[in-house]
Symmetry: C2
Subunit: 306 residues, 2 copies
C-alpha cells in the first residue's frame, strides 16, 4: 500500500515541497512506495515553486482512510490535519514545531522533531549521504522550502544548519539565492486573486490566550501595500471569519519581508490591548507597525498577552 | 541551571541507565550542565547495574519546578511522569514507545522517537562518533539498558541495531554478554523483598480496552516459580491495587525469560475472557501459560481484547 506523505492544511511552500522531497526519498532510496499529497490548494509561492522546478502538483486529499499508511511532515498538530488522522497508520512524523499533543500512534514509530527553521533541513540531515542523490527538481524543492521558511534568513527561526543546507543546495543547482528568493517572495505577494476571507485563513493558526481564542494570521509579503490597501474590508471580514471558525478574534499581521517589520490591523480595543501588552506598542489608528516582528513561532505566539 | 534527565516512574534499567548516559553526554560532550534523576527507587536489576559499574544512584525526585529544564527519556506518557511535567521547560525527548499524546512543549525542541528496543540504542546513534568517548561505566550502563530491554535479544522488540550496539559495547568492555545478562536477570528475579502490591506495580502500565481500565503488569524473571508460589496472595492483592489505583482489573504476566513464555494469573472470568480473546488461550485453572509471549509493547497490548 502506497504511503501518503503530507503536511498541514493551507499548504505553504514547506508543506508542499517537503512531502515531495520525502516521498522521493522513500521511493527511490528506501524502496518504499510513497506519494506526496496536499491538504488544500498550495499558496501562490508554493505553486510558483512547483512550476519553476517542473514538479507535478500533488493530489489534494480531504481525508485519509482508516489504516492507511501516512507520513506527517511540517506539523504535529491534529487541528491542522484531517479529522480522522488518528485512525490512519501513522508511520513517521518529521517536524520543526513545538509538540502540541493529540497525535497518537499504534506502535513505536520514527518521530523526528528538531528546532530548525524548516522541515526540509531536517530531511536533508536524515537522508545523510543519500541527499546527494536527489535529482535537480527535488533539490530545488528542498531549497525553496528553506528559503521560504527562513524568509531568506531574515526570520529569527533561522539556524546555521538552515544556512549551510541552502548554501550546499544552491551551489549544486547553480542558483543565485537572492535572485531566486526574490522571485518566490514576489509570487507569495501576488494575493490579488484571493478574497478577504481567503487571505485571513491562508497562513493562520489558532491559539488560546487568557481564555480567548485567537486566529493568528500572517501575510508574508514584499508588497505590504497590496493587503494594507484592503484593510477596511479585511477588518470587516474578521467578523465573518470569527463567527464561522468559532474564534473570538482574528489577528492579522502583514509581515514586510524586506523591511523586517509587521503591521497589525487593529479593528477594536481588544486587539489594541493585545498590541500594547504583547509588543509594547503604542497604538493610535487602526494599524500599528511592529519593528523586527517576522515570526509567529518565535516572536508573536510566545509574546501574546491579554 | 542544571538540566535534569529522567525516565519513567518505577524505573527499570533503561529508565535508570539512559538518564545517566545522556547526562554524561550533555555534560562532557555538549558542555551543558546536566544530571540524571529517578522518579522512584530503581528495580533490583537497575540497582545491580549501578553497583556493577560503580555508578552513583541518581537522586530520586518527586516533581519538577515550573520552568526547570528537563530532558525526558524512555517515555512520552504524561501518566508516567510527574504531574507538573508540562510546567517544566522540556528541552528534549528521546524515546522508543508509541506516541500517546499529552506532552506539550513551549517551543520547538529536539524529539527523537525510534522503533528500537531501547532508549540507549537511540542515544548511541544520536551521539555518533562521540559515543566512543564514553568512559567504561557509561558504556556499561548503555550495554545494560539494551540487554535489559531486549531480554538478551529474546524479546520480539529487538532490532538488528540493538544487537550491533551491544556487540560493539561488549567488545570494547570485554564483557561476556551471556554471562553478564544472566547476572542481570538473576538480580531482577530476586523479588523476595517486595510486597505483593510492590510486585504488581513494579513494571506496570495502564491501558483502556473496551471501556475497561487495565493495569498491565509484567514480571520478567528467570525464576518464575518465586512469584507463582505467591499467586493466591498476589491475586487477593489485585483488589486492593485496583481500588487504590482506580482501575478495573490488574493483569499480571510472569514472563519466563529463559523459556520465552508468560504465565498470566486468572483470578476471575473477566481475565479468563481476556486470555481467551486476546491470546486464543484455553484456560482451566487460575493460571494460563502463553507460549512465546515476552513483550507488553509488541505482543500483549496490541492483542488485548475484551
Amino acid at each position: 500500500m502506497t504511503t501518503l506523505v503530507f503536511g498541514h492544511k493551507s499548504p505553504d511552500t514547506d508543506s508542499t515541497g517537503s512531502p515531495i522531497v520525502w516521498a522521493w526519498y522513500l521511493n527511490e532510496v528506501k524502496g518504499e512506495a510513497a506519494k506526496p499529497a496536499l491538504l488544500g490548494e498550495p499558496n501562490t509561492e508554493a505553486a510558483f515553486v512547483l512550476t519553476r522546478w517542473n514538479l507535478d502538483k500533488p493530489e489534494i486529499i480531504s481525508g485519509v482512510e482508516a489504516g492507511a499508511p501516512v507520513v506527517i511532515v511540517d506539523t504535529n498538530n491534529p487541528a491542522e490535519l484531517p479529522a480522522d488522522i488518528n485512525d490512519a497508520d501513522i508511520r513517521a512524523i518529521i517536524d520543526h514545531h513545538k509538540l502540541v499533543g493529540g497525535l497518537e500512534t499504534k506502535g513505536p514509530i520514527d518521530i523526528t522533531i528538531r528546532p530548525l527553521a524548516c522541515t526540509a533541513t531536517i530531511m536533508y540531515d536524515l537522508m545523510g549521504d543519500d541527499a546527494a542523490k536527489m535529482p535537480e527538481a527535488i533539490k530545488g524543492a528542498a531549497l525553496s522550502c528553506i528559503l521560504s521558511d527562513t524568509l531568506e534568513f531574515r526570520s529569527p527561526t533561522t539556524t546555521d544548519r538552515d544556512r549551510e543546507v541552502v548554501a550546499a543546495l544552491a551551489a549544486e543547482l547553480g542558483v543565485d539565492v537572492t535572485e531566486y528568493a526574490a522571485e518566490m517572495f514576489a509570487a507569495k505577494s501576488d494575493v490579488s486573486a484571493f478574497s478577504d476571507a481567503e487571505l485571513i485563513r491562508m497562513d493562520s493558526k489558532e491559539y488560546e490566550v487568557g481564555g480567548k481564542k485567537f486566529r493568528v494570521s500572517v501575510l508574508e509579503t514584499t508588497a505590504p501595500q497590496i493587503p494594507l490597501d484592503r484593510k477596511d474590508s479585511l477588518m470587516e471580514t474578521f467578523k465573518t471569519v470569527e463567527a464561522e471558525d468559532g474564534v473570538d478574534q482574528v489577528l492579522l499581521f502583514v509581515v514586510d519581508i524586506l523591511k523586517e517589520e509587521a503591521t497589525l490591523l487593529v479593528p477594536n480595543d481588544l486587539v489594541k490591548t493585545v498590541a500594547e501588552k504583547s509588543f509594547g506598542a503604542t497604538v493610535s489608528g487602526d494599524t500599528v507597525v511592529l519593528p523586527g516582528i517576522m515570526s509567529r513561532k518565535k516572536q508573536i505566539i510566545p509574546n501574546l498577552t491579554l
